[in-house]
């Protein structure tokens, strides 16, 4: 187990290094991506440009710029080119919002998808299965920015049943926090519920025809015990993999559209604004942050595998 964790940590470093180099290079080679020109205004004076490049180190070789930027990132001194605000502090201020969105939505989509997937599998071929399948496909087909905007407009702005965007910190008022996040959670979860329930349904149907399920039934176990202990447990392995990747991505800023529609001002929204301004430091920091969570959650997922399937050993 210890070796597994150490190996994973080392691979995490390699992934983070590769991600940081790629992100930095992309923003350095794209046409017109010279931050000095944007800082200098619309008719840059050559002497002024020179001064900006010198002061910010843009005249140094790319690898030196990269090393300096990474040094600033890890020392918490990285500053945005466009607003000159501290990037790490900005991410820190937005973390609570993104975590609230991601964790709540992840619980919601996992719970609903599991229930829906299992139910449609055991009711396979019946009318309820067909109806729920259609519903799942509708969920998959609706883009989050569209369904989010509709919810916000009709349930928030028009009907006033829910707040029209905004966010209240959990520590400030737990009920308001919940109230403000119901729509974002729902909007973000719909797609995942649709996908996960379809995958789970298919896995459960496959597992139901396995020999060990027949054996379990032959042993006289109750249908409920067969389903939960043998069928669902084995069918969950691919779902857990998916969940690890998706949850990591959402935590790392992947819920850009949901955050923007509901104006949650989370990490995703921050990176979206930064990309729009070709502001490398925040993009680099958030990309690293996202990559960290994806790798971390994959490690957690591998550990959960072993719990779900005792045949899997972590080495």
């Amino acid at each position: 187990m210890a070796r597994f964790v150490v190996r994973r940590l080392l691979s995490m470093l390699v992934v983070l290094f590769a991600v940081s180099v790629l992100t930095f290079l992309i923003f350095n080679v794209i046409p017109g991506g010279d931050p000095a020109l944007r800082m200098a205004g619309r008719q840059p004076d050559p002497a002024q440009l020179e001064r900006i490049r010198e002061d910010w180190g843009f005249d140094e070789p790319v690898y030196v710029q990269y090393l300096k930027t990474m040094g600033q990132l890890f020392s918490g001194e990285l500053v945005s080119y466009s607003t000159q605000q501290n990037v790490v502090a900005e991410i820190g201020k937005r973390l609570g919002r993104t975590f609230s969105l991601a964790i709540g939505a992840a619980i919601m989509w996992m719970a609903f998808a599991t229930a829906l997937g299992l139910y449609t599998a055991i009711r396979a071929g019946r009318l309820s299965d067909r109806l729920l399948t259609i519903l799942a496909l509708v969920g998959i087909s609706m883009p989050v920015f569209w369904v989010g905007a509709l919810m916000n407009y009709y349930l928030g702005f028009k009907a006033g049943i829910f707040p029209n965007g905004d966010y209240v910190p959990l520590g400030e008022d737990p009920l308001e926090w919940l109230y403000h996040l119901i729509l974002p959670w729902t909007a973000l979860s719909l797609l995942f519920i649709g996908v996960y329930s379809r995958v789970l349904r298919s896995n459960v149907l496959d597992t139901l025809s396995e020999d060990y399920v027949r054996t379990a039934r032959a042993k006289g176990l109750s249908e409920r015990r067969v389903l939960v202990r043998h069928v669902l447990r084995n069918s969950m392995i691919p779902i857990v993999t998916l969940w690890g990747l998706d949850f990591g991505a959402v935590l790392g800023g992947g819920a850009i559209l949901t955050e923007a529609v509901f104006d949650l001002q989370g990490v995703g929204q921050y990176v979206a604004e930064s990309v729009d301004q070709l502001d490398v430091p925040p993009v680099l920091a958030v990309t690293m942050f996202g990559a960290f969570f994806i790798v971390l959650l994959n490690t957690v997922v591998d550990i959960v595998y072993a719990v779900l399937d005792p045949r899997i050993r972590l080495t």
Partner: protein, 552 residues
């Protein structure tokens, strides 16, 4: 040669098409009953782009910062053309230039103090100019015409002196000497980023919190990307012409979600928004809340297609004229969702020197002359020539380029479109090596001076910049000579000559294809008096010091 006006930054300025008298200034109730003053209002905005007054670049920053940072001279707090007038602020009066038009001497009013209680010193002004130059402010180009400014920038030593600024803390006298006469300096000194701030609290590095100012409000960054707050400056002393403002507190709610911002203004959660309602919401806002919406081509701007005169086919005048004949401003008005005032001049109607000369290519409000355009293309010998129309991805610019492509195709060119990200667009088409033949461009005035519409966009000197706004790479001796002659003159006194220059550029040489002036919106909540107190200002777009609630 002076450099003012050629190195601005984004945005600004212009004369409003509205001539509504200002209201709400100072203790004036603005007419129409007793105003409900005091209290708090909330303004939605995508937010100021910096907390440091010398580093702000956007109009969203200039609007609150001008309430905090009072310069030596300032723009009149009036709607319409009156708002372009330069009035004394910290200085006792607006100085007349001496020394052949090169020296301006200001004298500070007595007893001025910042919001932190410290006294205003003459040397604080020099400190501000030094910060503008040292920190690479986007506006620094406005001040490089001051004697010794370029040397200061090159040396990079913040403690060094700027030879052209003599500040006497004892007498409060500030003498600014330019390298050559240039009437644009007063317009540049009237901007909030040129306002003195206490030198002790304004070091040679970017600031995370706005420093104290002299203006009627103080500004605090509660959370850079979410909330800024303006509060009354209790130490503000009466300065003639500067209103005190009608609210005790103004909260700036920062968000990039313009759709929600619009909904919040509709519902009254916000009282005003610095942005235009999103394109799909604007028709609804126009239809349902007309009394809360104001539309005006302010700040002054011009939208035009550049034509690269160094490359085929636009190196031939016939080809350039052909495009002018073929453009249908009405089609472009539709693309702008009605927010375009059609026109064919480089100078917008509200700018000194604007003349409604007969467009050689026909009335811009009427249809195009495609037949004449086709003839001219044939005469140019460039029929069938490949032309790439450059544009960027900001709405509605792709549609504008598609329109030009279709028009060019109709008159005999083989046209295509190239679309870039809006962040890199200006840099790319402003580089000679990009070889952009034609494309979308616009110019928003930096300050209300006609030179600002020609020097950056059509002069030879603009071509010296690494990235030029003279995207047509026009180098014309008559334009350059005229600009040299008019630079030191009072624009009002030579307004006719500015008009002649405009006619020369468009009618005689067809260097550009102007098609109109964009109108921006001011949208208010129900409780605000949008009719009388919209504060539509030619320089700041909206002067929040003029905002007021409806009379109770």
């Amino acid at each position: 040669m002076g450099k003012l006006g050629r190195r601005g930054a984004v945005l600004l300025v212009a004369l409003s098409v509205f001539d509504v008298a200002a209201c709400g200034g100072g203790d004036d109730d603005g007419g129409g009953g007793a105003r409900d003053t005091g209290g708090e209002i909330a303004i939605g905005s995508v937010g100021p782009d910096s907390a440091d007054p010398v580093l702000i670049q956007s109009l969203q920053a200039v609007q609150p910062f001008q309430m905090v940072y009072t310069p030596l001279v300032t723009y009149a707090h009036q709607e319409g053309n009156a708002g372009t007038e330069i009035i004394p602020a910290l200085a006792e009066e607006v100085p007349e230039p001496t020394n052949g038009g090169r020296t301006y001497t200001f004298r500070l009013r007595e007893g001025l103090e910042y919001s932190d209680g410290s006294p205003v010193k003459a040397s604080d002004f020099e400190n501000t100019i030094k910060r503008l130059l040292k920190l690479g402010s986007p506006w620094s180009g406005f001040y490089t015409g001051i004697q010794g400014a370029t040397e200061f920038t090159e040396r990079g030593n913040f403690k060094a002196d700027i030879a052209g600024i003599e500040a006497n803390d004892r007498t409060g006298e500030i003498e600014v000497t330019l390298t050559e006469p240039n009437t644009q300096i007063l317009f540049a000194l009237a901007q909030p980023y040129a306002a003195p701030t206490p030198a002790a609290k304004s070091p040679a590095r970017g600031l995370k919190q706005p420093p104290p100012g002299v203006g009627p409000y103080t500004l605090e960054v509660v959370d850079f990307n979410r909330e800024w707050v303006l509060e009354r400056n209790r130490r503000f002393r009466d300065i003639p012409g500067i209103p005190k403002g009608n609210f005790d507190r103004i909260k700036i709610a920062v968000s990039d979600n313009v759709t929600r911002m619009t909904q919040d203004v509709i519902s009254g959660k916000l009282d005003f928004m610095t942005e235009d309602p999103a394109g799909d919401q604007l028709p609804e806002v126009r239809a349902q809340y007309p009394e809360r919406l104001r539309e005006a081509a302010s700040p002054a701007n011009v939208y035009y297609f550049f034509l690269n005169v160094t490359l085929p086919p636009f190196d031939k005048q016939e080809a350039r004229e052909a495009v002018n004949y073929a453009i249908d401003s009405n089609a472009l008005v539709r693309i702008f969702g009605g927010r375009l005032d059609p026109g064919c001049t480089m100078l917008p109607p509200s700018v000194t020197g604007y003349e409604e000369f007969d467009c050689k290519y026909g009335d811009p409000a009427a249809g195009p002359n495609l037949e004449r355009a086709r003839q001219l293309v044939e005469q140019s010998g460039y029929e069938g020539e490949e032309v790439t129309v450059w544009t960027n991805n900001k709405d509605p610019r792709p549609a504008i380029a598609d329109y030009l492509r279709d028009v060019l195709g109709e008159i005999g060119f083989d046209a295509d479109v190239k679309t870039l990200d809006q962040q890199v667009y200006i840099e790319q088409v402003g580089l000679r090596r990009t070889k952009a033949q034609t494309g979308f461009t616009n110019w928003y005035q930096d300050y209300p001076h006609p030179a600002d519409f020609f020097e950056p966009t059509l002069s030879s000197e603009a071509l010296e910049s690494e990235v030029t706004f003279n995207q047509g790479f026009v180098s014309d001796s008559r334009i350059d000579k005229t600009l040299d002659e008019l630079r030191g003159e009072d624009p009002e006194a030579v307004a006719e000559r500015w008009g002649d220059l405009d006619e020369y550029v468009v009618n005689e040489k067809a260097f550009v294809v102007p098609y109109g002036y964009e109108e921006s919106t001011s949208f208010f909540s129900e409780r605000m008096d949008a009719e009388n107190c919209a504060g539509i200002h030619p320089v700041w777009k909206n002067d929040w010091l003029l905002f007021c609630k409806k009379a109770s």
